[in-house]
Structure formats: structure tokens, C-alpha cells
Symmetry: C2
Subunit: 502 residues, 2 copies
């Protein structure tokens, strides 16, 4: 296609994505290698890059180009590269134009200050100090939503920013359906004898853990010539190009599952971005369709593959060879039960596959209660304890492992940052079920340590499209049905009925 | 000072330096951790950052601010922060405005293509393939110089871009003076029996080399909370803030001197930037005064300190303890002679302290001959061989270790990229002599492993000023004389007369 107006838009957008990629590298460095002295300058440099990219996006030039390209966009076809790029650019432009620059600057500064305060408040178990920051964050989150406007529920714009097409009501409905099945399942498991996980809590040297984890994700198809793994405090995946998508992990030498499943999880995210059509390289389209779809890919490789029996039928012998002193006398069955043990716990990111969703639902609901004015920040710690007691039967002994446990509310707007985790679980089962219908031999392949069929199906049906389709469109065209909790509930029931002999 | 116009200039310049710092981090990553797949996107991202920073610098807004600040600049005092910043900004602005954007883009693209071709040509020992790239580079270098204009010799603008205040004629005069003393010294040494360097060429595990090198530079004062050391192919120092100045190194397990002296060298560069007045943070002033002054600091710590007898009187016992199998039976005298052995060699970066300058002078002269039209690129390999035979008595067996040996001519303009190395040597002796006049006890301190007096003198007299003064101003005010080769010649004569019993 030769359309000079489109070429101009493409070039202008490419510069914006280049600036964003540079910011991403600065963040990666901040979380992996940056010496502590670099922090103040890094915050300033990130703010400059964000401001520069943002001011380009909201420029009248981009607005004019988008106006001039309305006919081209309308002409379709919907999934043609130029049409998809214009559509996504328009969506980003329209949203960004609604946020006043002064407000954006205030938000950036407040986020940085809150994050800094949280890094001190958490170890000190000091909610009181962080409370005013959080109160201001609730206000800023509401203001942000009001700038975007056009909502039924105030969390809608916040949710949609991460998960386009999703609304508060849709999330509530899906979560209610899931919850109805999940709570009895957790209760039934709780009545069974607890699983012994001692085999995972021996001494496992970090360098061997690293080697085994990288061995596994190489088999998944993670390409170390187009990525790498580094150590960090809070593991994440980050991409600077579809040919440079990196993962990070952390090692606990007394917990084999920590780094291993985290590496698989982040590799799942990475496979998504590595699998995007090369034609999208350097464009807005070269990212996942939504936070939840992204999470569906990470959870699929971590849980549906990485915690499955076929997977360990193949890999457990290799793991025993890597850790003979620790695992030679531990049989596969014991190990398989240990990595799938379900038990209520305090920390979301350490939770098992089943109770994890209860953590997410609690967090989603508390965020909504704050935003919709049913809950005051001052009452949040009590509300947190009550919710954990109600849903998981345990009460955090302090705020450190309660409301202060992770950075989400203390580094960004409140309201749209938790639904994606459980939506990702729901989606990953629906996608996997569709892959199994197309290729019933996938479990047999996995049992042979082969992942090509699965990865290729995911790449062809999901990854390659990048952000061309919305999450709902992807689900419909890939699974021939709208988003549904049924496959996920079936998956959990099948797996845990056997595991716990329910 | 509250001057709203200056505040605006400062803010605009800060955004430019933030973009440049981001570009620097992208380069650091490219040379240390980036997976190979990331290369094409990285080149594009760097080009975008450079273009963005450049277009801001040459904007009419900056021009207007500089015009409005002429009176403030003229009012002085010369070394006041606002005055120095305006002066430097004006110098950068004036130069940048002279280069047409299309030419700058062509240059960036040609540099990238040439570098890429060089990475293939060097291992293949294939000068013919790179020849047309180099021919074009000679043309582009001349064009660049002509855009800057206002010169006596065409290399002047290229030299001045790296070493403000220096000209082709000044460099020629200084080099001729030095050469007159250097050639007889090299000849006299050549007539002495060769020094046995076998003690340096045993097996030295990289991890122990790293630990010892970092131990040494910590004693120099290199602060690992404001920097770090990583591995790379071609060691360099790079800063993203005066509180995040990193060094890189490479290890050869059969050569103890490679990483050790490279680490000291890069730490010398880093101490310069770490020592800049915090008031300059995030501004154009937060860099060294010139390439040569920067090099004077790295060479000072590498050679005048790191290859000195007092230094090893203190550290050699520790080195022996680090490598007992290799060094327990090697006495200090043997080791000290080995690390200071003078012998003609092919590769500039591997050369000893004395012959190094001959490499630099050859490269400077060949670059000048190309630029001034006395030498055709096609004849460069022959001219290279002739020069090495004439000055060092050896002829490279191939172009790989001859004209293709390093990246300088194949990644940037020709003409201004070699003088700084020998100018740095000249300056480092002049600075060190001044430091010794002020503190005659510095060698005694070094002998005790204490570097505070020296580092503090350097910091107070050189480092803290950043780019406030030119190299000539710094030298005059610090040493009470203009730049002179005498201290360097004295240093070499004193040291090598003893070492070689001349």
C-alpha cells in the first residue's frame, strides 16, 4: 500500500513506540542492574521520555492525520495492518487527549512519591504513613476516570485501559459465576488431608535452578537469541522489540517452585510477544491484545502446561538428575502433588492455582469499594482482614503481609489492576480447550517434551495478531464462543478431583 | 538566581540531556546484555532518540532563549553555573545548527552500515569490501568539516568537536616534540634485553581477576553504589547521571594485565564523572572538559598509579594471595618489570605505555592524510604497513591486525578520533606533576594503599568543574602553565631509564 498520509502516521507512531521502548529499557535496567545512586536521575529520565512520547501522541499533527485517514479505516478490511494500526492509534489518541498534561504530571509525581513511601512503609508494617498517599490515589483515580468519562460505573475506564471491552459489571458477573464454583471446591479440598510439600523446601542452589528453568523454557520455544533472563526482586516480562523480549526471575534457595514456575510464567508472556507478526514490529500493534489475554498466555504455560502431569512425566527425571541429593528418593507422584498443593495463604503471588483467584477477587472488590465510596482508606486494613477471613479462613497477622503486600495500589491508579489475573485464568482454559479440540494429541506431545503443536496453535491463533483484535474478538474467533468461565471450572474440577480424590 | 528565561533554558536542556542519557543506556545495553535479535530495533531506537534530542537542541526556541540570555552570559562571572551552562549550550547549538538534518541522517545511516560491514570484514581480513564505505566516510567527514567551516586545516572542526581549543597544527607541533624524544627512547629500550612477561601469561580465572580488579578500584574511590562493572567486547565507561557511572571490562584468562589495567583505566574515567559538582547533575556540564582531559584521568589511574612501583609495593602481596599458584614464586621486581615491558606490537589497545603513542601518531597522521587528500583509501593498507615498519619496526601480517584492527574509522567521522589518546598522556603527566607539587606525599600514600589525597586533588582541581572550563583553561589554572610535553617526557625518562637501566 502506498498512502503518503498513512506513511506519515506510521512514521510518527514509530517514533512514539521507539521512545516507549527506550523507557521500557530504562525500567528493565532499574529493576535489574541499576546501582542505587542512579534512582533519582532515572525517575527524571523516565518522566522525560513519557512526557515526550505523550506530547507527540496528543499532537495536532497526529489528530489531523487520523482525521485524514478516516475513509481508509472505514474501507477496511478490519484486520488489515493499516486499518488495525489506525484504529488502535485513534483509540490511544482519543484517550490521551482527554487527560490534561498537568494532571498527568501530577499523577506521575504522586505515583513516584507513593511508591517511595510504600518501599519504607511495608518493611515497617506502617499503614498509617501510607494512608494519605492512598487516599490521594483514590481521588486521582476517580479524577482520571472522570476525565475519560462515558461510563456506567466509575471503574469502567480504569478497567478498559487494561482490558479493552471489559466493564465493571461484566467482571462482577464472571467473578460471581466463578466464585460460586470455586468456594465449594476450596472447601472440599480443605476437608482432605493436607499435601506434604516438604520436597520443595530443601536447599536448591540458585545456579542449578536457573539452568533447569532455562532448559525448560528453551523447550517451550523461548529463544535466547531474542531474549534473556536476569534476576530481579519482582519478576516481570518486558519487550523492546518483537526480537528482544526479556524475562526476569528471582531465586529462593529453600523453595524450588518459586523461580521455576515464575520462569515458565514470564516465558509464557514472552512467547506471546515473540510470536507477533514481524510486520507489526516497531508499531503500536506489537503488543498483546489486553492485560488479561497476556495473562492467559503466561498462566497457560505456567499452570496448564507446567503444573500438568504429562509435562512432569517427561521432565521429572531430568529434574531429579539436576537435584539428585534432594529429589532422588522423591517419587513423581509426591512431587506432582506438592507442586499442585492447594492451601489458603496470605500472599497472592505465592498462592496456588485455585485459591489465587480468591485473592484476586478480594483485591478487585476492595479496589472497587474504595473507588465507589463504600470503603474509606482508613478502614481498608480491617476490610482486608475480614475478607481474607471470610474467603480463605485466615487473617493476616500484620499489614505487611496484608494490605501492604504488593506494589499495585501504591504505584498506579486503583480500579483496573487486578481483574486481568483471574480473567487470564478464565481465558487460558478456554484457549487451551480450543487448542485441544484442534489437536487432541497435545498432551501426548507434552509428555514427549514437545511443545511445537501447542505453541504454533497459540502463535497462529493469538500471538501473531498482536493488538489487531480485541480480547473478545480473539476469543470468539479462536474458540467459537464468547468468554465463558465453563472451561476453566471444568479444568479445575477435572484436575483437583483427581489430585485430592474428591 | 531566579531568572525565568534561564530556568526555561535549563529545563529545555535538561530534557535533551535526559534523552541523551536514555540513548547512552541503550548503548550500554547493546554492548553488554542485549540479545543479538535486538540489534535492528536498537539501531532504530537510538536513531529516534538522537533525532529527538538533536531537533530539540536546534529548535528556534533554544535559539531565542540563548539570544535573550546574552547579557546574562556577558555579565559573568565566567565560571558561574548559569554562565557556563549558557556558554556551552551556545557552543553546542551553534555547531548543531550548521549540520543539515538530512546530512545528519545520512551520516547516522552510513555509520551504522559501515560498522556492520566492518564486523564482517575484520574477521574475514577483507579490506576490499570495506573500502567503498571508508571512501564515503572520508567524503562525509570532509563535508561535515565544511558545514562547520571557519578552519585553517580541514581536520580542525573534527578535532575541535572532541577537543575544544585544539587544532591540527597544535597537535602536529606537540606530537613532533614528543616524537623527537620518544623514538630514541624506544630505540634505546629495544637495544636492552627483552623483559620476560611469562608471569602474566599463566591461567588466571576470570572470577578472581574480577574480584581483584574491583578491590583495587574500590580503593581508588570508585563507588559501587553509584556504578557497576559488566563484561563487554571493547571496554568503555559510560554515565547516565553523575550518580550512575558504569565501567565495563573483558577478561582474558591467559593474560592478567588485560582486565586489570582496563578496569583501572575505565575507573579513572568514571572517577572523573563521579566527581563532578552535584549542581551540574542532569546538565550539559556534567561531562568531562574534553576527550583528552577525560583520557588524562583514565591514563593517570591506569599508568601513573596502576603501573607504578609504590602501588605494587602495597598491592602485590594481595595479588599473590589471590593467585598463589601462579604468583607465589614470582617476586615483585619480576612482576613490576613485566607489567611495564616495552615492545613493539601490532594492536594499539594492547600496546605498552611508551609505544602506545607511536600507534596513536600513526593513526592520527593517516587520518589526516586521508582527509587532506594526500592518501587514497585504496592505498591505506600499504601506508599502514609502511608506517608500522618505519616507527615500530614491525609489519602487520594482514589487514585484520592492521588497518581493520579497531572500529574507530568504521563507526564515526575520520579526523578527530585519535589525538585525544596521546594528548591525554601528555596532560596526565602535567596534572600528576602539579598534584605532586601540592602534595609531595602522594607516592607515600599510594604505597600505603591510600588514594584520598590524589583523588581529592583531582576532584577539586579538575573533576568538580565538569565542562565549565576548556581543557586549556583547566591546564593553565591547575598547573600554572600551558599544555606542555615536558612533564610527560620527564616521567617516561625517569621511569624507563630505571626500568631498563638505560
Amino acid at each position: 500500500m502506498t498512502n503518503p498520509t498513512f506513511d506519515k502516521l506510521e512514521e510518527a507512531l514509530r517514533e512514539i513506540t521507539d521512545l516507549q521502548a527506550a523507557a521500557a529499557l530504562l525500567e528493565w535496567d532499574q529493576q535489574t542492574y541499576m546501582p542505587p545512586g542512579g534512582a533519582p536521575a532515572r525517575a527524571r529520565q523516565l518522566a522525560t521520555l513519557e512526557k515526550t512520547a505523550h506530547s507527540r501522541l496528543v499532537s495536532d499533527d497526529i489528530g489531523k492525520l487520523l482525521d485524514d485517514l478516516k475513509d481508509l479505516e472505514a474501507a477496511g478490511p478490519y484486520d488489515a495492518y493499516p486499518v488495525a494500526l489506525i484504529r488502535l492509534a485513534r483509540r490511544r489518541y482519543d484517550r490521551a487527549r482527554k487527560i490534561p498534561p498537568d494532571f498527568a504530571a501530577e499523577l506521575t509525581a504522586h505515583n513516584a512519591a507513593t511508591y517511595h513511601a510504600w518501599t519504607k512503609a511495608r518493611p515497617a508494617n506502617d499503614f498509617a504513613t501510607i494512608q494519605p498517599y492512598l487516599e490521594r490515589n483514590v481521588e486521582l483515580s476517580r479524577q482520571w476516570a472522570n476525565y475519560i468519562g462515558d461510563y456506567e460505573r466509575i471503574a469502567d475506564p480504569l478497567i478498559e485501559a487494561a482490558d479493552f471491552g471489559m466493564t465493571t459489571s461484566r467482571v462482577e458477573t464472571l467473578f460471581a459465576e466463578l466464585r460460586q464454583q470455586l468456594v465449594p471446591l476450596v472447601q472440599a479440598i480443605a476437608e482432605r488431608p493436607p499435601v506434604d510439600t516438604a520436597c520443595l523446601h530443601q536447599h536448591f542452589p540458585a545456579d542449578k535452578q536457573r539452568a533447569f528453568g532455562e532448559h525448560v523454557v528453551k523447550h517451550f520455544g523461548y529463544d535466547f537469541t531474542r531474549g534473556r533472563q536476569d534476576k530481579t526482586h519482582h519478576p516481570f516480562m518486558i519487550g523492546f522489540s518483537i526480537n528482544d523480549v526479556r524475562i526476569t526471575t528471582r531465586f529462593k534457595e529453600d523453595d524450588l517452585s518459586e523461580a521455576l514456575f515464575s520462569t515458565m510464567h514470564e516465558a509464557g508472556h514472552a512467547l506471546y510477544e515473540l510470536g507477533i507478526d514481524p510486520a507489526c514490529e516497531g508499531t503500536l500493534l506489537a503488543h498483546g491484545a489486553s492485560s488479561a489475554v497476556h495473562e492467559s498466555q503466561s498462566r497457560l504455560w505456567e499452570n496448564l502446561v507446567g503444573r500438568s502431569r504429562p509435562f512432569w512425566n517427561h521432565f521429572y527425571g531430568q529434574l531429579q538428575q539436576t537435584f539428585p541429593d534432594q529429589l532422588a528418593t522423591v517419587d513423581l507422584d509426591t512431587f506432582y502433588h506438592a507442586i499442585n498443593a492447594v492451601a489458603p495463604s496470605l500472599i497472592r503471588t505465592d498462592a496456588d492455582e485455585v485459591t489465587y483467584n480468591l485473592h484476586v477477587m478480594i483485591r478487585f472488590q476492595l479496589g472497587l469499594d474504595l473507588l465507589e465510596g463504600r470503603l474509606a482508606v482508613a478502614d481498608l486494613p480491617d476490610a482486608w482482614r475480614a475478607a481474607y477471613q471470610r474467603d480463605l479462613g485466615i487473617t493476616p497477622p500484620d499489614d505487611k503481609d496484608g494490605v501492604l503486600q504488593d506494589v499495585h495500589w501504591f504505584s498506579y491508579l486503583i480500579g483496573g489492576n487486578f481483574q486481568c489475573y483471574t480473567l487470564g485464568n478464565i481465558m487460558n482454559a478456554q484457549f487451551f480447550a480450543a487448542a485441544l479440540r484442534a489437536h487432541p494429541d497435545i498432551p501426548t506431545d507434552i509428555e514427549k517434551g514437545r511443545f511445537d503443536t501447542l505453541r504454533t496453535w497459540l502463535q497462529q491463533n493469538i500471538h501473531r495478531h498482536g493488538s489487531t483484535f480485541t480480547a473478545d474478538e480473539l476469543i470468539q474467533q479462536t474458540t467459537n464462543q464468547p468468554l465463558s468461565v465453563t472451561p476453566y471450572i471444568q479444568y479445575l474440577h477435572n484436575k483437583y478431583t483427581k489430585l485430592y480424590d474428591l
